[in-house]
């Protein structure tokens, strides 16, 4: 296995660590370096596992406990790996009323994961989000930058398969 540093099991582990160290180096002498470092670290790794937080802790000389406190305080930081395809199910008022829960349930069933989790093959991760501003298309999901609106649960499988097939090509 590549490393727990990375959920997609790619070979780029050391490259990522190198990028992380560069990010930390760039910010380390600034006051309040932690939050920008965490943001950029999450861009590199997709999430903030213990190894990443430990590296930040050691180089910035901030206790791991304090970093963990910041990571768990802000919702945009994630402790769970994100999939190659990030599925966001809008749970805003309009989508909720139009049956977003049914869409979410179908996604859970078809992917075999719960909210906040990543599939075993690291292809998909699933999140319920606040309003994404496309209420006219409710209920809406986003997969990466693609928006799918006016969905019914039966359409879910086809959409997922589209991404699976792309992976096979």
């Amino acid at each position: 296995m590549g490393s727990v540093d990375c959920c997609c099991r790619c070979e780029a582990v050391d490259e990522k660590k190198q990028m992380l160290l560069e990010v930390i180096e760039k910010h380390r002498d600034r006051k309040g370096a932690l939050i920008p470092v965490l943001h950029e670290a999450q861009e590199i790794y997709g999430y903030l596992p213990i190894n990443v937080q430990k590296t930040i802790s050691e180089v910035l000389d901030i206790p791991l406990t304090e970093i963990y406190g910041v990571v768990t305080f802000y919702t945009q930081f994630s402790l769970e790996p994100k999939g190659k395809n990030k599925i966001q199910v809008c749970m805003g008022t309009a989508c909720y009323v139009k049956g977003a829960s049914g869409i979410l349930d179908k996604l859970k069933e078809k992917l075999g994961i719960s909210e906040g989790e990543c599939t075993e093959d690291a292809l998909f991760s699933l999140e319920a989000t606040r309003c994404i501003g496309a209420c006219g298309l409710a209920p809406v999901i986003m997969i990466n930058d693609d928006v799918y609106g006016r969905l019914i649960p039966d359409e879910v499988e086809g959409i997922i398969n589209k991404y699976r097939n792309e992976e096979l090509k």
């Binding site: 727990v4 213990i50 937080q53 430990k54 206790p63 406990t65 304090e66 406190g69 402790l79």
Partner: protein, 582 residues
Amino acid sequence: MEMVNITIDDRKLEVPFNYTILEAARYANIAIPTLCFLKDINEIGACRMCVVEVEGARSLQAACVYPVSEGLVIKTQSPAVRESRKVTLELILSNHDRKCLTCVRSRTCELQKLAEELNIKDVRFDGERDVMPVDEVSPSIVRDPNKCVLCRRCVSVCKNIQTVSVIDTNERGFNTVVSSAFNKPLSEVPCINCGQCITACPVGALREKDDTDKVWDALNNENMHVVVQTAPAVRVALGEEFGMPLGSRVTTNMIASLRRLGFDKVFDTDTAADLTIMEEGTELINRIKNGGKLPLITSCSPGWIKFCEHNYPDFLDNLSTCKSPHQMFGAVLKSYYAEKEGKDPSEIFVVSIMPCTAKKFEAQRPELSSTGYPDVDVVLTTRELARMIREAGIDFTSLPVRQFDDPMGAASGAGVIFGATGGVTEAALRTVVEILEEKTLEDIEFKAVRGTTGIKEVELEVAGITLKAAIAHGTGNARKLLDSIRAGEKEYHFIEVMACPGGCVTGGGQPIQPSDVRSWIDLRKERAAAIYEEDKDMAVRKSHENPNVQKLYEEYFEKPGSHKAHELLHTHYVTRENYPVG
């Protein structure tokens, strides 16, 4: 001192300009309830129990952090203030596991006392409750988040005073919880088991791992010879558990109650402290004479040892190889004493009564079992001993005068002062100076090493050497001291470190005094004063003059640092990784 004029509850007062409203009110004998406030440790105005009305302010203000100023008008008992405090307290209680009857802090709980004082008859908010697992994995400390009131006193002492930083507030809103990173148990993070979080906790969210059942079982086992030893700091604090004033000396009551509990022998850890001085003093003299690794750093405090193993592995060779006194004593009891009594070490059960939670972890270190059996079987804190005494129905305050058992009962005053910061250094000086100068000291009280200054330094001309020593108490101070040595700014021959601020007298296993006592009275000074009084009353006050220790060398160890002494009285240390990741 610059003074300002203020009005509190229609009373005009002149108070120092740097007071908070809380301090000013206290000065005027006006009580303001607090919960998160712990002076010099946690002054964050978070819990809102201490709110008062300040004329001209838009909302109620937290008295513990609001500075006084000229002309300030304050009301501490208006209807708005009373209502706010009550609602706040009820909200805290609504998410609190209110099993007070079976809580270890019943009677000493600050939350319970507030509920009584604020006349809370009912908790009107009966909503969702957090139910979280209790962390009981550590051999020293149990953490029950269901009883936590999120006051952050433990977080502050762990982070700011001890610089250990293994607990913090995590998550947000209703899910906020004080926990370790990644919710790891305390046994898997660089916790040093000092227990300062326990003595800071106002409620029962932090407590020691209770081992009293193991001791009851041993006492009830007819085939077991159960021996107890007591650390010096216990005898100047145990009385507080029974309502006696701070600084009460209860050595004889303590001995008498241990007899009544059924221990076969009651010994004094101070004897082993004298033994430590012989071994550590010899180690120091050898290292100075033979160009060994300096500074020599003391190893009596297991919290400090674990701190060093996690954070300063480059100093492990500086640590004295001496076991801590009670571990030395355990090894002696299961070897020399066992032989003398004609017993197998397996039949001897050693209980240590300690002011310390870290000693529970220490006693489980696998290398501390020189005879093939653990040197010490169970460590109880001062508080656990008090629980056993209460459970046995012993009237602690009226007991006959009893003395420690022979052999190895009588100790020296040098052994007693181990309980206060600077004590080990003073005890070592009383012996090392006499040995190096080959003459009797006229004044054996080295007052420069006493007191509560965070880092103390002394220089002493001894036999042609300028002996430089430093003393740090609280691991935050130890960190500063070691950093200055790492940076090459300081050089010493000898360093004493105690993990707890004030040394063992204010160890994590000592009786808990609530914030409204310890914020205003320095427990370290009160208890240390009693320690130094004990020392004064001792017939022998230097370790090398302790007849029991002399006999022990004559009959068994031959001389300090002998092969046998190394086998039984010395140990080694390990580098510990912080947050090992698989």
